[in-house]
Amino acid sequence: MGIFSFFGRKKDKSTQEIELLGISGHIATLKCLILASIKGVSLRTTLASYDVGVDQINSYQYLDSSKIVPTVNHDGFTTSGTQAVLTYVDIRGKGASLTPKNARLLGLQNYWIAICYEILGPVTQAITTGMATDDDKKLLNKILTSLDNLLSENLYVVGPMTFADPHVAAYIYAIGCSGIDMTVYPKISDWVTRLENDMGGPLKIEYLHMDPSKLTATN
């Protein structure tokens, strides 16, 4: 054993495949799939029916009184909610963690994740359900313009690739599926292409199964 082995990251000795339970058309589930793809993590995914309606705003939703999506099961460990699942997949996956070490980048990463939950989520919910008001559309344009400007300077949302990228990307996919013209945001389109290259190819958009009649909020 070489001396540097002491400082190396422990290899994941578990052989069991990571199981992901999600919902079709669920942005929180999509975030998990995007990250797994970036990190080269193989998931055995079960997508539940969304008959009860899809919540695009919160980090997780209940399928019934005890079952939450997204949830991962691996090697006897189970955890739920977007952040916990992303953390688990990130550490289990290939390469360095997406968590930046620089304090300022860390803060900005989380700022954009918060913008996703507080602003982009509700607007996307309205857009994908066909309930968007003019104010929603204006707000969406403001966020996308801001992102487009940011991505004219940065390769990824806050500079290097971080957790902000799979978060934002999931909404962009959903918005794109909803008929919003993304060609007016060329830097976002370039960034999506970069992400797809990092993911080894485009994510299957049909995963979303965007059916506005069923994409109603549950919370």
Binding site: T79, L106, G107, S146
Partner: protein, 259 residues
């Protein structure tokens, strides 16, 4: 030109620690938020835990100050609380907590072990996604709306419904704390998130929800005397607002004198 941080949270040179080697490496933080907002309180706790001096100022959200040009020129979407350190700004408790944790003096509040990290994030998520909306309803009805309008009649149905929904969430937290000194065993971000929420429940006359749950009560009581994560002589819990502080719209600054 003076920005909104310097107007609302001007740095008081005389009261903050002014000597010591650690001092040289640290800029002063400035925070804008409100004393009844759990996200703001999390930032105050985190700064104290990590030994970061912070000047706190009241953001007048009752009059939509977060939508004014002076605030939006810093944070274009009006999200708060807002933090400034020299030429750096970040808004929202998730960003601020991560920044303070990485810049601070104590050991990291984010666990490195994959199981611990994911478990921490789950409990943070439960606090943010499930508990916070109900705590906010109770705080608004019990404290804020009557504070704005003394003739306001509390919506007891809304309070009862929020309390009922919180019970099952708190039962889960009580179970998680059984056998654990802190929420996941060691002190992490999960404890900061829940401390802020439970403190607000106490202020909003819902202390019975905590006192009926022995493990939450034991954990919460222990925080009242727990010294900071950074090892300095400060108890983060002591900086949380009283009901009088809320009525006076007063946020406590973090002052550290033993660098």
């Amino acid at each position: 030109m003076m920005d909104i941080f310097d107007k609302r949270a001007p740095m008081g040179k005389e009261e903050h620690g002014s000597s010591g080697d650690m001092k040289k490496a640290q800029f002063m933080l400035q925070l804008l938020g409100t004393p009844w907002d759990a996200n703001t309180l999390k930032c105050v706790i985190a700064a104290a835990e990590q030994g970061m001096e912070m000047q706190s100022g009241y953001l007048d959200v009752l009059n939509n100050e977060q939508d004014t040009e002076s605030y939006r020129s810093v944070f274009e979407f009006g999200t708060y609380p807002g933090l400034k350190e020299a030429d750096y700004n970040v808004a929202g408790s998730a960003g601020i907590l991560a920044f303070i944790n990485a810049r601070g003096l104590g050991f990291s509040l984010a666990p490195k072990n994959v199981i611990e990290a994911a478990t921490q994030d789950f409990w943070v998520d439960v606090a943010v996604t499930e508990a916070t909306p109900h705590v906010n309803t109770i705080v608004q009805e019990q404290i804020i709306k009557p504070m704005i309008d003394s003739s306001y009649s509390k919506d007891t149905n809304a309070i009862d419904e929020a309390r009922a929904k919180l019970k099952s969430i708190l039962d889960l937290l009580d179970k998680q704390l059984t056998g654990n000194e802190y929420i996941i065993g060691k002190y992490t971000f999960a404890d900061i998130h829940w401390t802020a929420l439970i403190h607000l429940l106490f202020l909003a006359d819902s202390n019975d929800l905590i006192e009926q749950r022995s493990q939450i009560h034991r954990w919460y009581s222990s925080l009242a005397v727990r010294k900071s994560n950074c090892g300095q002589n400060i108890v983060s819990f002591s900086l949380l607002p009283s009901i009088e502080d809320i009525k006076n719209k007063k946020l406590t600054s973090v002052i550290i004198n033993d660098f």
